[in-house]
Every structure is written in C-alpha cells, then in structure tokens.
Amino acid sequence: MKITLHAWRQKDADSPGGMQTREVDGISKDMSFLEMLDKVNEDIINEGGEPIAFDHDCREGICGTCSMMINGQAHGPDGSTTTCQLHMRSFKDGDAIHIEPWRSRAFPVVRDLVVDRSSFDRIVQAGGFISANTGGCHDANSQLVPKVSSDLAMDAAACIGCGACVASCPNGSAMLFVAAKIGHLANLPQGQPERYSRARSMIKQMDAEGFGACSNHYECEASCPKDIPVTFISDMNRDVLKANTCHSDK
C-alpha cells in the first residue's frame, strides 16, 4: 500500500510550523497507524533527517497519550478508537493522509504532533477527587452503591484524558472531559460531600485555562474513543447551577 503523508512539523512552541509532504511506500494493511509512523520515522532517520515527534505509550487505547488529528478528525476516521488502535486497513492504497496536532489554545504545541495537556491535570488538581486520605476508611461493603449508579460512574470514569473532545470542538471546550470527571464522582455516594464545591472549582479552573464554552455541537461525543455521552455535560451543568445558587459552602 502507498500513501501520501502530510505531517505538521514544528520545532518547538515558539517556532512557526507547517505541513510537510512525503510519499510512503510499503505499508501493510495490518500495521497500526502508529506502526506506519514508526516506519516513516525509520526511513527519515536512515535518510539523515529528524523523525516526526508524536505522543504515544501503551498502544492499546487506554493510557490516553496518543493524540493527533487525522484528516481533520481527532483519532482518525473510526469510531470508538484511539490513534494507536487505528489500523491501516481503514485506509486505501493511494490515500492522502493529513496529520496535525490537537488544535486548542489550552494545548500548546511542544513539537510536531506533541502538545502540552497539563491544563487537564490542573483542572483535576483544582477539585477532581474525593478527599479521602490514606487509612481509616470503613469497610468497603459498609456503604451500598446501587449497581446503576456504579455503572454510570464507571461509564464516566472510562475517560482516558486524551483531549480528543477539546481538539474536535469548534470552541475548544473541555466540557466533556470535566463532565466525565464530575459525573464519575457525583454518581457515587462517596462523592457527595464535595459534589458542589468540586463542580465549582473544576469549572473555574477550566475557564482559567482558556478552554472555550460549550454550544452543543456534540463533536466531542462523536470523537470520544471511549464513547462518553454528552448527557454528562447536562448533569454537570445542573450541578454547577446548584453550586452557584443553592450551595454556598465555599
């Protein structure tokens, strides 16, 4: 299989970047997308050039490190798939493939396709947790959790923090990411004491990081490799509203 690869190259955050084109031959359909990039990089190194930088680690769709726009879509054309799980069998011989870094003001480019997503970490640090210090917890079965609540919490907790939701949103909004964390904890009894202060602090940090607002495009849901539904955003909005009106705990 032969493809034409157009890749975003940018030396660092301060340098201007641009697309670079390269004809790639000898691609097998069984290769993963990142194995295709490995091959391209091996070729570049053998020619004496500098390989394309991209983020990746587990290569099985769970760590959330890999992150690129493929032909304008976050994580490429397949649904419920991270870049590392995408295979070349999803492309045709002779295809042109454009790869770019996540697009968002809150995710500055580090190099080529690598971006800085530490803004996500700072949102979690602002309140995305339950304040249960180590030790002194009561028996795990002493508090019943209805299976439906636990399942719903798990649906939200499946978020891998990759940032595809932000990258695909026309507003660069992080609402789905934040809603997933809030939804995970708000659906569990253990998450209730800090429920409203958590929603308020996380939203405040999200705004401070420069993410955009949500205007219900639902591109986030469509691009989410873990199929996290936008209904969590509605739930979060309700919590934020309550936090700002009824609960003056902080």
Binding site: R59, E60, D121, I130, N133, T134, S150, L185, Q190
Partner: protein
Amino acid sequence: MAFNLDSKIPEGPLADKWTKHRFDMKLVNPANKRKFNVIVVGSGLAGASAAASLSELGYSVDCFCFQDSPRRAHSIAAQGGINAAKNYPNDGDSVRRLFYDTIKGGDYRAREANVYRLAEVSNGIIDQCVAQGVPFARDYGGLLDNRSFGGAQVSRTFYARGQTGQQLLIGAYQALSKEIGKGGVTMHTRTEMLDVVTVDGEAKGIITRDLVSGEIKRHAGDAVLLCTGGYSNVFYLSTNAMGSNVTAAFRAHKKGAGFANPCYTQIHPTCIPVSSEHQSKLTLMSESLRNDGRVWVPKKKGDDRAPSDIPENERDYYLERRYPSFGNLVPRDVASRAAKERCDEGFGVGESGLAVYLDFADAISRLGEDTIRERYGNLFQMYEKIAAENPYKTPMRIFPAVHYTMGGLWVDYNLQTTVPGLFALGECNFSDHGANRLGASALMQGLADGYFVAPYTVGNYLGEHGEMNTAKKVTTEHPAFDEAEAAVIARTERLLAVNGTQSIDSFHKRLGLIMWDNCGMGRTKETLDKALEEIPKLREEFWSDVRIPGGDKEFNAEVEKANRVADFLEFAETMCLDALTREESCGGHFREEHQSAEGEAQRNDENYAHAAVWEYTGEGNRPELSIEQLEFENVMLTTRSYK
C-alpha cells in the same frame, strides 16, 4: 565485595510481624515531617499512592514521571482485577489463604514475611479505593462483586469492567492531584531520572533530564523511592507500554543497589499473536477471559480448517485434559508453557502456527451474549480492532507474550534497597511474587507498597537517619551532584558522538530477538551461552554505529530511547547470567534441562531456595553474586500441582 543481605524480617509469629514492626518503627513528629523532602520516581500505582500518602502525612514530596501526565503510567493498562482477602463471597478465603496461594503461585521463591504482609494489607486497599471513588463492579444489592482468577480456587478478585488498572490508577492519580493542588507534592512531568546521587553510600538525590528542553537538573532529597516498573521491554516486543524501561532501576544498580532474580520473567498466556515484522508491541487480553473461555487446539497436526468446521471430538482442550482440577484457570506460567508445547508440536493455529484458540461459544450459549459483553465487552472490542475478527462468532487466537517481571531491585522488609535511603516499590522491586506472579496480584502489590508500607518504613528511615537540621542537609551543591551530573552529560555526549548509521529501534529489535529466542519461555545452557556471546557484540556495535538524529537540548524521543536501549543492552547480560546460574526450573524461569517426564517445572530447593542478588562491577565485567537464603517456616515446600 559481596552484599550483606539482611532482610530485617521482624521476630515473632508470621501473623504478628507487621503489627509488631509498626510499633517498633520510629515516628517522625508531625511538625518535623515537612522538613524532610522525599523524592518519588514514577507515578504508577506504587509511585502515585506513595507520593500522595507521604504528602498527606506532611512530608514534602517531589514526584517525577516521563509521561506528559501522572495519569498515564502503564499500571493503567492492567485489565483483570485486584486481589484481596475480604472473603465477601463466603467461599473460604482468608489472609492466610491469600498468603499461601501467593507463596505457592510464586513457586516458593518469595519471602514469607513480605507476602504475608501483602495479604494482610490487601483488605485495606479495597476500603481505600472505594472511599476514593473507584467504581468497582457491584451486584444488584449494591455490594461489591468478585470473580476468580488464575491460580486460585476462591473468588477474591475485585474488578472494574476490564479496566481495573485504569480505575485504580485514576484513584491514586486523584489522591496525588489533591496533594499537588495543596502544594504538598511538586510534580515533574516529562522528566526522566538518569542517575541516583549517593553521599557516603546513602541516597541523597537524583539527576534528571527535562524531556522538553533537554535540561539536566539536580534534585536533593532525604530519601529516594523508585517506583519505576518492570523491564519486560528488554524483549522489545512485550505487553508493556513503549516507554517502559529499566533505566532508573539499572542506574540505581550501578550505584550499588543489588538486582535480584532478573531472570524471573512472566510470559502471559493470553495475548494477541504477533502478526507482522512491523509489530511494535503486543496486546494482552485479560486472564479473566479464562474464566469463561476454553482453550483448545485441533487434535490433528496442521489442521487448517476454520475453527467452526472442526467438530467437538476433534478438538483438544489441553488444559482441561492435563489439569482437570484447575482446568483453564492454571497459573500463567503453566498455561503459557502448555500453549508453547502444543505449538512446538505442530498443533498451533493461525497463519504462523503460533497461536491457540480461546473459545467463548460454550459460555455464550450458557449465559447469553449480553452477559459475556457485560463482563468482557471492552476486551472483545479491543481484540476485534487489532485482529479484525469478531470474537463473539469465532474463537480468539492467542499466544503467550512477555508481560511482567518478578525480578527487580533487592529490598529488605522495609522496601529499602542495598543503598540506604533508596527504596523500591511495586514491580520495580523483587519482593512479593517469587518466581511467578498470580493474576490480580500486581495491582495489589503496587498499592500495598505505596499506600500502606512505604509511608511507615520511609518514616522510620527518616526518623532514624534523617537530618532535620537544614544547615547540615546535603544540597545540590555537594560534589557528589557535580560528579553524577557530569557523568550523565558525558554519557549522552558519548551517545550523540557515535553518529553511526543504524537506528536505535533496529538495535532494540535485535536485542529483543536474542532475548526471546534464548532467554524466553524455555531456556537452556546452550541458548543462554549463545545470548551471552551475542549481547556484548551487539552492545559494541551499538556504541560504534548507532545514529541519534537531532540534539539533546530539545524534545527528542530518540535521545530518550538511546539512553534506555543502552541500559537494556547491559542489563540483558545480567538477566541471561542469572538464568544460566539458576540450575532449576521455577515459575517464570523454565530451564528445559530441569523438567519432569511430563514436562512440568522441576525446582531444586536444596540449592536454589534463595534470591540471587547481583552486584554491578563495571560495564562488561561479570557482576558479583550474593545470596539471600529464603526461610520457609509456615509453608511446606511442595511441588506445585494444578492437576
């Protein structure tokens, strides 16, 4: 100079040791804790839980990870579950039984006292995780659900769909984030540790490289905790993440930390088979699949019919045949070797013949597709994405792959290495799994070390040896830091100066092949001798012909890889030497010379019931061997039988 390997196991009956030890350990006054700075390298289950817990106690913590966020460490990829001796299903479990199963599963090559403590704190881990909001699976009454796992006849495994590692890591990450938010932990992401700094033989800091700017930095600390995972990537192809490496542990080894049992390698039986030469990594399918899947191969050699065309009486369910009481749930090492044996004999399936079937047809007809989807949905989906086959309709093809390493830095009961002040937690140490780790025990150990062991034992060390007087503390101005930093810089310069013709990956792949062929699932004196001859040659070629594009003062993944592969090239030799020296088969170390007539592993308890601890003596020199004799006072050493 041989090591003095004092395991510091407390006196007294097994069940009282940890309680007694906790009482005997020194405490640090709460007001003094913030005067101590603890360095935690790694942010997986062990690292994140230790950093968070130490910060909660009041210590000032610096935590480092090479990933872009502490949420990404490879603990996240663990699928199946975490063991605990809760006995919620009322099926006869207890701390004693979990201890016994773990010691037996490890083929009697782990330290009794450590394993007992692990079983003892296991229940607290579940309580802690539930309090943090880990959404474990529950039954309709709202209680926690359990499932069984390989190597156990009770249901003691807690799980969160097929993403247990992810959920536990997010729990620990949230606890860590809470402490970062409060200012107790300073997090250093995209930062790799390249050396440990020792002053008068004690660990006093580390040297790191900022992976974005390339800047080399010094960090001083009163204690250093390595939580840096395992070394499966010495095989190039493994189920570990691409970035997983031995560098931190190996650099500590070079600074005097003994490396124990490096040959103990876990080959996981249920992985997706290699499909092409471009393969960059292998993907594991959780062992929990063996609860409902049946493993088989055709009875006829080279049978290339589609699996659905092979009638029931022409299938060999070889695990059920060979091990009637455990069946498909035998421990990993046993299941892996059985698969290899069938494939070596020519019964393997798939294009390469290096695969066996894992079939869910029976379970689906018994329980319905919905139940199977609920239990394993994400795993089936993962399989379908990679193999492009629907496992609800056609059996999965699986083959063993390197997955976990039981060997690691030698630690005493306090998790301290042979270097005072340097601790090793989680997969990075050697302590709890012996020669083979049971399923759902890795998560348990990582969190046990981080939440419930290190916070006490590190405090004890600081209470006994810590310097509270700020004026007397070792700072980054100390000559030991100059020396360590200069060595790190010199090494990188040496790597860049080679300016050869072959890529780093090409060397890594070649090393992986040497290791898989000669120090893999079956090892012999002959193959190990061969590897020991080939590895130094490859290392020499690497240092004379490797090509590293770009410079080191920038974001450059090739510089990161070069450092790691260079360490693997040295470490691999120690691993093979250890495998050669251990003249027995036990757990994840199978020497083909030592097997029974039926092909089962044959231990040699008389001569090898010990931990083999290697001391670094210079590049290319033979490391020196010291031995910690393992004392078994509470279990009888028997031949493991899962028949």
